[in-house]
């Protein structure tokens, strides 16, 4: 199986590669359009800032490339947010697979720290991506923006309000948390994606 991880100006890309290696897969970290297009599965990871990430992707026409992919694609964290239509972070139009919009966490209540950093539960799990994952399993989150709930939601998490911690449309999947950092739960999810 040919597996690509999209390389761009976001952090955390290598962690995904290493997590795949830990469960017995090798992947190519690449921004080469031909390599990406010819892969069986594509992972679009990233921790970073939406505005500078989209700028980088657009300069290389990677935004259109990602939009056109027909094989299974998994967006992780910022990757998932960039697959949405719009992010409030730097008021950025994104790739537009998912209709959901990405909003900034706001609250007057100091109990909720922003960004959300840490382990939180995922529930109302749908699709094969979550096969074998128990409702309310803990996953690791690091984010200051969230995708609203909508028709593509396949996993929900509560932080200030319920939001989409997983999205799915056609061949595109996205998770807000980091499966590559979510210990055993994350490894199950990555394996599920790789065996879709």
């Amino acid at each position: 199986m040919k597996l690509s991880i999209i390389k761009y100006n976001a952090g955390n890309i290598r962690s995904v590669l290493y997590a795949l290696e830990r469960i017995g897969y090798t992947a190519l970290v690449t921004d080469d359009p031909d390599e990406i297009k010819s892969s069986d599965k594509v992972i679009f990871p990233g921790v970073g800032e939406a505005g500078s990430a989209m700028k980088y992707l657009k300069e290389r026409n990677l935004d259109n490339l990602i939009y056109s992919l027909t094989q299974p694609v998994l967006g992780i964290c910022l990757g998932m947010q960039l697959l949405c239509k719009y992010s409030e972070e730097s008021e950025t139009p994104c790739i537009g697979i998912f209709d959901e919009t990405v909003k900034i966490f706001t609250t007057g209540d100091t109990i909720f720290k922003i960004p959300q950093i840490g382990w939180n539960t995922i529930y109302h799990l749908k699709t094969q991506l979550f096969n074998g994952v128990k409702e309310n399993s803990y996953s690791y989150f690091v984010h200051g923006y969230y995708a609203s709930k909508g028709r593509h939601t396949i996993s929900t998490t509560n932080y200030i309000q319920p939001y989409s911690s997983g999205l799915h449309k056609n061949n595109f999947y996205g998770v807000q948390f980091h499966p590559e950092k979510s210990a055993d739960t994350g490894e199950i999810i990555l394996k599920n994606f790789l065996t879709l």
Partner: protein, 251 residues
């Protein structure tokens, strides 16, 4: 959201060390092996601090970060001697999830803004070493606790949050190495008045101390080193105990 238990691995020359009040280093093992063990035992996150980096003017070893990233399946933060956007880029590219900055950020607060803009606030942790003086005020110390400043801890923390840090790792020099409990007073001040998570550090000796800093100081996470390295407290036991104390914890 759970409270987090974070073993800290102080690194010098590629090995884990832990000193009492930042002096008298003891060897406590291989950081990669130890980190992977903690992950397996249920640690929520790891922090690696290259404690010699600022003093000896050298950069954290990205090779070590790379090895760690290969072997642990939980998040980890790397700190020590980070001065530039390029330093951070190298560490993140090698698999670090977050970086922590201390002295360089104090001397050049613009660095915080640059890092937040380039990589996002969520991966920028501000480490503060603070000490309570006889006048009752908590001051910021630099260079691994060797250089006093006239800036008060809360003022610096607040300024840094405005500039874009996403988390604060607060070490009380009065408590570090004592095993008499965390600094509840200053941790509470920051945790309850700043909009970012605060990791309490310094002073953990008993399981009670963790419960106290979560309940009484509203800390979001608690960090400890020697009690874990020398197996005085096992992480699974600690987490079970905290859950019994009605603290939300990942089991």
């Amino acid at each position: 959201m759970t409270k987090r238990i974070i073993p800290c691995l102080d690194i010098k020359d590629g090995r884990t060390v832990k000193g009492t009040n930042f002096i008298n280093l003891r060897d406590a093992g291989d950081p990669v092996e130890l980190g992977a063990l903690y992950a397996q035992q249920g640690a929520d996150e790891l922090v690696f601090l290259d404690i010699a980096a600022t003093i000896e003017k050298r950069k954290t070893l990205s090779e070590l970060v790379n090895k760690i990233a290969h072997h642990v399946n939980i998040p980890f933060t790397v700190g020590g001697g980070i001065k530039t956007v390029d330093d951070v880029n190298l560490l993140l590219q090698n698999g670090a999830d977050k970086i922590s900055i201390n002295t360089a950020a104090f001397k050049n607060p613009d660095l915080i803004q640059q890092l937040a803009k380039e990589f996002g606030s969520q991966c920028v942790v501000l480490a503060i070493d603070t000490k309570k003086e006889e006048n009752g005020n908590w001051y910021v110390y630099l260079n691994g606790g060797r250089m006093k400043t006239e800036t008060k801890c809360f003022e610096w923390a607040r300024q840094a949050v405005e500039l874009g840090v996403g988390e604060i790792l607060l070490t009380s020099m009065n408590h570090d190495g004592t095993k008499n409990g965390f600094a509840v007073e200053i941790t509470k001040l920051l945790a309850e008045n700043l909009p970012v998570p605060v990791i309490a550090s310094g002073g953990a000796g008993k399981m009670d101390h963790f419960a106290d800093v979560f309940k009484d100081a509203s800390a979001d996470a608690a960090l400890a080193a020697s009690i874990f390295h020398f197996k005085e407290i096992a992480i699974p036991d600690l987490k079970k105990y905290l859950a019994q104390q009605k603290i939300v914890i990942r089991l």
